[in-house]
Symmetry: C2
Subunit: 279 residues, 2 copies
């Protein structure tokens, strides 16, 4: 079979769990190539030989249809399913296949090769921590409540639509961190001091900022051609909050080109806030 451009290929993400890890892996590899595949299929919960046979048939069918074998990103912990999917007419890239053996050799132990709560948010203690942290983020979202700020690990401040809410939720779900957020509105800007609600918590503040054009784009979707979405208004707001961060020594981050995941991770790095859930 000749090599063939990416666009003609099908891509499969095969997993014995939700498939999110296989997707993440596959996605980072595929982003190294210019053209993106047209078809991608996630096959989650492939946790029996029957399911594996089904996956194999789907991959074979795609190979036939496309005239090129699919790329298969897989995270299958048990050899029985892996062996079946491997027989399909595809390029099989399995994470356990590649790394379990070297790890076993290094440790002088055999891995369990058992399905387990290996992906995600499995065990009870960290589940509870996530739930509590998520509830905290929800209760303390958007300045809705400020009396619990003493329990916060960090308080995000920033303009409307600069990414505060999703960052707080991500911090809660991924790291179990208690993150509140307080929106900086026009009334908070240009005063002589920090807004009253956050004044006593300066050490916990973390500022988000964002490029004027990007924020305009985002607000334009929300309220087209409003003052809220006007370039002059946004420039004033962005300059004011950046001035505030400088004046009060609030550590900050520009979110223009960062994903929520990156913002959260950099925030931990910059502030030294400890995660409550270990990887």
């Amino acid at each position: 079979m000749t090599t063939q451009a990416m666009a003609a290929r099908s891509v499969f993400f095969v997993s014995d769990h939700s498939g999110v890890t296989a997707e993440t892996l596959g996605h980072s590899l595929l982003s190294q190539f210019e053209r993106r595949p047209e078809h991608s299929v996630t096959l989650p919960f492939v946790a029996s030989p029957e399911k594996a046979e089904e996956a194999r048939r789907l991959i074979d069918a795609a190979a036939l249809r496309d005239g090129a074998r699919p790329i298969v990103f897989s995270t299958l912990v048990r050899e029985v399913e892996r062996a079946i999917v491997k027989q399909a007419n595809g390029l099989f890239l399995d994470f356990f296949d590649a790394f379990l053996l070297p790890l076993e050799q290094e440790l002088g132990q055999t891995g369990s090769h058992m399905l387990g709560r290996s992906h995600g948010m499995g065990d009870a203690a960290s589940y509870m921590t996530r739930i509590e942290a998520t509830n905290f983020a929800l209760a303390n979202d958007d300045g809705g409540q400020t009396r619990d700020y003493n329990r916060a690990d960090v308080i995000l401040v920033g303009l409307s639509r600069s990414g505060k809410t999703p960052t707080c939720l991500y911090l809660a779900l991924q790291y179990g961190v208690y993150a509140a957020n307080y929106p900086l509105t026009e009334e908070d800007l240009g005063g002589d001091d920090l807004p009253g609600a956050i004044r006593a918590h300066r050490a916990k503040l973390f500022g988000l900022t964002i490029a004027v054009e990007r924020l305009r784009e985002i607000r334009q979707v929300r309220k087209p051609d409003s003052r809220y979405a006007s370039r002059d208004q946004i420039r004033f707001e962005v300059e004011s909050v950046e001035g505030m961060y400088r004046q009060y020594g609030i550590p900050s981050l520009d979110t223009t080109h960062s994903s929520v995941e990156e913002i959260a991770s950099r925030l931990l790095q910059i502030t030294g806030v400890q995660r409550r859930i270990m990887p």
Copy 2:
């Protein structure tokens, strides 16, 4: 060097991004072994030769301290950093190292080997979708508002603390799905019909349920020794909601042994709700 049990080893997660992918990978591999390492260190944003040298030094120091070389899970897309970290005294398991070459050969193309927005929530369109879906989940959390149910992709129903809120948020952040949730309280149970707020949306309902003992454990943390946390009360509630799901043909899932990630993924599979963000 002799092989040595896991507990004595340090584990490093090294990444040119947030490190979340490296952690996920490493974590699923490590869960195959009984003992967990005592030290684990995440080194995010290793995106320059200097940072890579620093990582190398940290790994070498841990090897010396532990008397056994660390396990290094890494996702470094550029060869320059990879080559440096690889020289450290550790077992180096890098995702790009293992899979980029076979993929290049298969496609007859060279990957860019460039840092990119390869992990997470990078591009603008899917960022906006996530934000909108997150805002939808927040606005429609816990039955707080029900007039937007016509815009929902799915409406989760279930008892207090059965996992509705984190599942909705995960659906929003990971898949861009518009998920509302409505709590089933005692007043909603045992009536002649579905509660008024959700009656018109039966086709969108998805029920969560949970084992009596597990729910008791969770509620006990929240309100110790209350009626809310009593076994009899919880048994009544769980039996009633399960009866409701059966009677009205509401598809449902037991969350007792599932992670939020698994619940979300199974929900999509069962309901056929389409994600708004492609992997």
